[in-house]
């Protein structure tokens, strides 16, 4: 809460009629979520496999952060642990803190967690078909979310308002539909409506468009941007698609083998990636209207959990790796204002 005392935290505002100057707290300066050195294992004792290894991340109110990485890098597990949704066991929250509005989620009792899940923090997932119950009408499913978090508003009118909000045409008749009667894009809109029912402060969207076609993906991304502006919630967008980052994110965290290896404002990262992995990843995707030269593929495979190499985890595939890279895990350091890189040799071209 030290932000309250700092100068930056206060906004000078003028009352429109009287002309008095007042100081109001600028909540956008306060962090909504602070993940500090999160460590998560699957299994325990000698068989423990570390899926998330020392992830630290902050999300300010109303901010959009993208978590980018390939399959198995720990991005989904990081997203799920914000509401302690990875069941323990098999998971084991080994260390770190997840401060949501200043309170540690990892220390909360079940009672309190239930209020947070789908309340302050809402989730949308990759497969809308799997997120909806196939035997209940969608109207009732949305109402269920309202009953839990806003019991006074659990009415058909509110459900219709939510469906309108996410751009479903003729919501009055749609509330009686079953999920199978809707297309993938429409189902994803229903899931988003359900997530918004509690007016969350943070929306965790885990690959929300991966299962959808490009034209439908464009619709859903447009919708998320629009909702964010109207409702002012923060979004943690988990994706493997670097293209989405440019359109959506304020800041990006790139993950590799359970660790954040680069953290940066989105535009700057896309313009000038610093970590060799981020550079290689961007060069390995063909670009529209790009040249037809050979693609710069990254040699080898993504390391699987439990098989992470010693030292820097990208070293075996890195074009600029030195012998010392395999000895010690480099630290994530702020090398330029706002830009964090886990590589001591990032300046090497």
């Amino acid at each position: 809460m030290s932000e309250f005392r700092s100068q930056k935290f206060w906004l000078r505002e003028r009352f429109p009629k009287s002309g008095f100057w007042v100081l109001t707290p600028d909540f956008s300066k306060m962090n909504l979520l602070e993940i500090k050195n999160l460590k998560l294992d699957f299994g325990s004792g000698a068989d423990a496999l570390r899926a998330v290894d020392g992830v630290s991340l902050t999300i300010g109110a109303g901010e959009t952060i993208c978590l980018v990485g390939e399959s198995g890098c720990g991005k989904t597990v990081t997203g799920l642990s914000i509401a302690q949704l990875v069941p323990a066991p098999p998971a084991n929250y080994v260390g770190g803190e997840i401060l949501l509005n200043g309170r540690d989620v990892l220390k909360m009792a079940n009672e309190e967690l239930r209020k947070i899940r789908g309340g302050v923090v809402s989730y949308i997932f990759q497969e809308p078909g799997a997120a909806l119950n196939p035997v209940f009408r969608i109207g009732n499913q949305i109402k269920e979310s309202l009953k839990l978090h806003k019991p006074e508003k659990a009415t058909n009118e509110e459900v219709i308002r939510l469906l309108k909000l996410v751009g479903i045409p003729a919501p009055e008749s749609r509330i009686r539909n079953y999920p199978f009667e809707m297309s993938g894009g429409m189902q994803q809109r229903v899931v988003i409506a359900m997530a918004l029912a509690s007016e969350p402060k943070l929306l965790v969207a885990d690959e929300p468009t991966t299962a959808l076609d490009v034209t439908i993906q464009a619709q859903i991304l447009e919708l998320l941007l629009d909702l964010k502006q109207r409702l002012g919630m923060a979004i943690l967008l988990i994706t493997h698609n670097l293209g989405i980052v440019g359109d959506m994110a304020d800041r990006v965290a790139v993950m590799y083998a359970g660790q954040i290896i680069e953290l940066s404002p989105a535009k700057e990262l896309l313009r000038r990636p610093l970590h060799p992995y981020t550079k290689a990843l961007m060069n390995s995707v063909p670009k529209l209207r790009g040249d037809a030269g050979r693609l710069a593929a990254i040699p080898g495979n993504v390391p699987r959990i439990g098989n992470f190499p010693p030292g820097c985890r990208f070293a075996p595939r890195c074009p600029i790796a030195k012998p010392e890279c395999s000895k010690e895990i480099p630290e994530l350091l702020e090398v330029e204002p706002g830009r964090w890189v886990r590589c001591p040799f990032w300046k090497t071209p």
Partner: protein, 323 residues
């Protein structure tokens, strides 16, 4: 003569309203499609899910039976042939599938998987020759031959896709239908497989029909590109032209919908309203008109033919103008 020529190909699947009733409705998965592939060239085929691109690929290799039309392979119609003749012709064309997990038999070793094609077509006469050929093939796709006795589950996704490619190469085909060969792979591994496919084409002169939904990948690997919507080809042109000067409004929307990595290229995104209509009841007239931003009256009535609007550039749109 073209290596492959597809003429007015149609694949209609019957939809049965009940168990004993006769089919009255049809899903027109592929509806009157014609195109040709020259030896050694790559033709890209893009479209959204359900547009019929996979069915088209499968109909060419006779994994589904075409309803009408013909498929000419080096001038010979292969739609009518059966049995041993069809099997013999299948040596000329092979297929690579999307899911490298599902397309390999988990109970066969890599040597058995790759060698099976050699046995079926009796391409090697001794055990040692067969072994030598399998080793050659594994080396050609960048796999260490010491893995020959291992099983598919011991490999990563990218390696499994290499095994699938080695299996396709075993019979020295002239044409490979690649059905979404990289979409199940991690981004950093995708580029390895794309490079491999390009190298193999340069070394062996294989032609590809490259089916994918990712336009950037298709543009990169193909010489020509076809765009499919609701079972029909809506635009076809040279790869560079179709990305830079798309004429069909669907292609324009498709290209603008792709999120781009480069933050400098900020263009207006065309967001199409609605979903792809059901292929059982395609809209009358132009199949794209309910979502089209520039649709006119006649688009609702007349089906636009695929017509030439510039040299080697054809679009099925009443309003596309030659430039």
């Amino acid at each position: 003569m073209s290596l492959l020529e597809v003429k007015n190909l149609k694949v209609h699947f019957p939809v049965k309203p009940g168990l004993f009733s006769r089919a009255r409705e049809f899903v027109k998965a592929v509806d009157d499609v014609s195109f040709a592939i020259e030896p050694g060239e790559t033709l890209g085929l893009v479209g959204e899910s359900g547009c019929g691109k996979t069915t088209l690929g499968r109909a060419i290799v006779r994994l589904v039976e075409p309803t009408a039309g013909s498929v000419l392979l080096e001038g010979e119609d292969i739609t009518g042939i059966n049995g041993s003749l069809l099997r013999a012709r299948r040596r000329k064309f092979q297929m690579i599938f999307q899911d490298p997990y599902g397309s390999l038999n988990p109970r066969m070793t890599i040597e058995q998987i790759v060698g099976e094609a050699l046995d079926i077509h009796r391409l090697t006469d001794s055990k040692s020759a067969r072994q030598k050929r399998v080793i050659e093939l594994l080396e050609a796709v960048g796999l260490d031959p010491i893995y020959a006795q291992r099983y598919p589950h011991e490999f990563s996704g990218g390696q499994r896709q290499r095994i699938g490619i080695a299996r396709a190469l075993a019979v020295e085909p002239q044409l490979i239908i690649c059905d979404e060969p990289v979409s199940a792979l991690d981004v950093s591994v995708q580029a390895q497989i794309i490079n491999l496919l390009r190298d193999l084409q340069q070394q062996r002169g294989i032609a590809y029909l490259f089916i994918a939904h990712d336009l950037a990948v298709v543009e990169y690997i193909s010489r020509r590109v076809m765009v499919m919507y609701l079972g029909k080809i809506v635009e076809t042109a040279d790869a560079k032209t179709i990305i830079r000067e798309p004429q069909h409004p669907y292609t324009q929307a498709l290209i603008s919908a792709i999120p781009e990595v480069d933050p400098e290229t900020k263009r207006k995104r065309i967001v199409l309203p609605g979903d792809v209509p059901s292929p059982i009841h395609p809209p009358p007239g132009c199949p794209f008109h309910p979502r089209c931003p520039i649709a006119e009256k006649r688009c609702k009535m007349d089906v636009p033919p695929l017509r030439e609007i510039a040299s080697e550039h054809r679009a099925a749109c009443h309003l596309a103008k030659p430039n």
